[in-house]
Symmetry: C2
Subunit: 240 residues, 2 copies
DNA sequence: CGAGGTCTTGAAGACGATCAACAAACGTGG
DNA sequence: CCACGTTTGTTGATCGTCTTCAAGACCTCG
């Protein structure tokens, strides 16, 4: 089942029936592979498919007219990276493969059919775009109020829970194929400053990042330092 | 018709039939008034109604454990300020009345019924939450990359188009009942710095803010300074 | 008219950017 | 499988943006 990780994500938030699982899986007509540093979707593009990330890491980003870019989200396997393009029709930002990626494609036409026949499932998909928005709000809060180590720490807390919820992290560790430049573009800092903030987190014995791996040494301490409250991830089982 | 401004907003993006207009209007069971500085909805709250702003300005905000707050969105009449609470169930941030506000309440139960009977309408409501998310991404981009005058300028451009789309702004002017402290909490600056950035915009003959009114003196210049591209507002008529 | 909130400006200092140089890791072809 | 070039990471020094603290002006509304 191709949509296994997506099911996993939705099941954290509500009951998903066998029939719904099947409908979800049948949404995807084919898979596609992307190399590192290739756009999975591009700003301004009119799209007719939405993309589920199966393997690899991706990022949403916007480019300013002078070429600087801002990463607005990191995506991991199981994320429906441009589900929002189904109602929006046109991309208002790009999605980039940060590593080699494998994705599955769901035609908007098929999504429209689901919206006409399975209201509960469409509410769950709506929900998943709303959780993306909640992560955006948390991101804004971090950029407005948190220091560099706080922002990094918060990101690591969030990624740990998200990866853990699809069985891609445990014991406070996960692989992290993101460069310091990409971290800088995401959190609004220069690479130099990211480097120094990472050192600070290491010196505080909270997190160590090396060899493409994050090790959270002290979860409680990191949560305190980053002022992390997981409520916004809505990892709660509820009838939706 | 209570939902007149909401209709107006949706009609910018797609056809809305008379029947849909009626269904939309019937969603709302009653109105409610809020005084300045009162929460319309509160973080952590389990809600069973969603709130349409009819009159006044509101803001979404998150509070950190040390009391600092970050405003993540400004809301104007016609905005469905916590439609997202329908699938989310629980608020992950608060909504504050920045002026006296009048709102209309839509029970989640009624929204659920619409989702079962009118897929097109629910796609339009989904769309409106996705545009909120698009504004969040633009906000993140500003906080990561734009200077203080750029961020302010971008906000004024966005608000002008949004207000204009519900007939609350024209000729480059609109009433703006927001204090510099609130602007600071929104854009991630101190009030002192907001004040200086506003002066700079005035000295550049781009925008003047006084007496609770914004006057955009030079739209083209402001768009250039703020690197504003309205695509993310999706003010385009499309079958959704 | 008076009091509290809001705006404005100055001065000092912290945080983060930029520039620069070098070290380490990675990957690609010979 | 090693050599070499490129990308990524690390550290220091200098500079600019934004914060904080402080004080006074303005304005609004009971």
């Amino acid at each position: 089942m191709i949509s296994h990780l997506l099911n996993r994500k939705l099941e954290w938030r509500d009951e998903v029936s066998d029939e719904e699982r099947k409908i979800l899986n049948d949404l995807f007509v084919r898979t596609q592979d992307f190399d590192v540093d290739v756009d999975i979707a591009t700003d301004g593009q009119r799209v007719t498919f939405s993309t589920l990330l199966l393997e690899g890491w991706a990022a949403r980003y916007k480019t300013l007219s002078d070429g600087r870019r801002q990463i607005t989200a990191f995506h991991i396997p199981g994320d429906f990276v441009d589900l929002h393009s189904f109602p929006l029709k046109k991309m208002d930002h790009s999605v980039l493969a940060l590593t080699k990626c494998k994705v599955a494609l769901a035609p908007h036409e098929a999504l429209r059919k689901v919206s006409e026949t399975n209201p509960h499932l469409i509410r769950l998909l709506w929900l998943s775009t709303l959780i993306d928005a909640a992560m955006h709000r948390e991101w804004i809060t971090g950029m407005g109020q948190r220091s560099a180590p706080g922002r990094l720490g918060h990101l690591f807390c969030e990624l740990y829970l998200r990866l853990n919820s699809v069985d891609l992290a445990s014991d406070g560790r996960f692989t992290f194929p993101i460069t310091q430049e990409e971290l800088g573009d995401a959190l609004g800092f220069s690479t130099v400053h990211i480097n120094r903030a990472l050192r600070k987190l290491r010196e505080m014995n909270l997190v160590t990042v090396s060899n493409q791996e994050v090790v959270i040494e002290n979860w409680e301490g990191l949560v305190r330092e980053a002022d992390f409250d997981p409520a916004y991830l809505h990892l709660e089982h509820e009838p939706r």
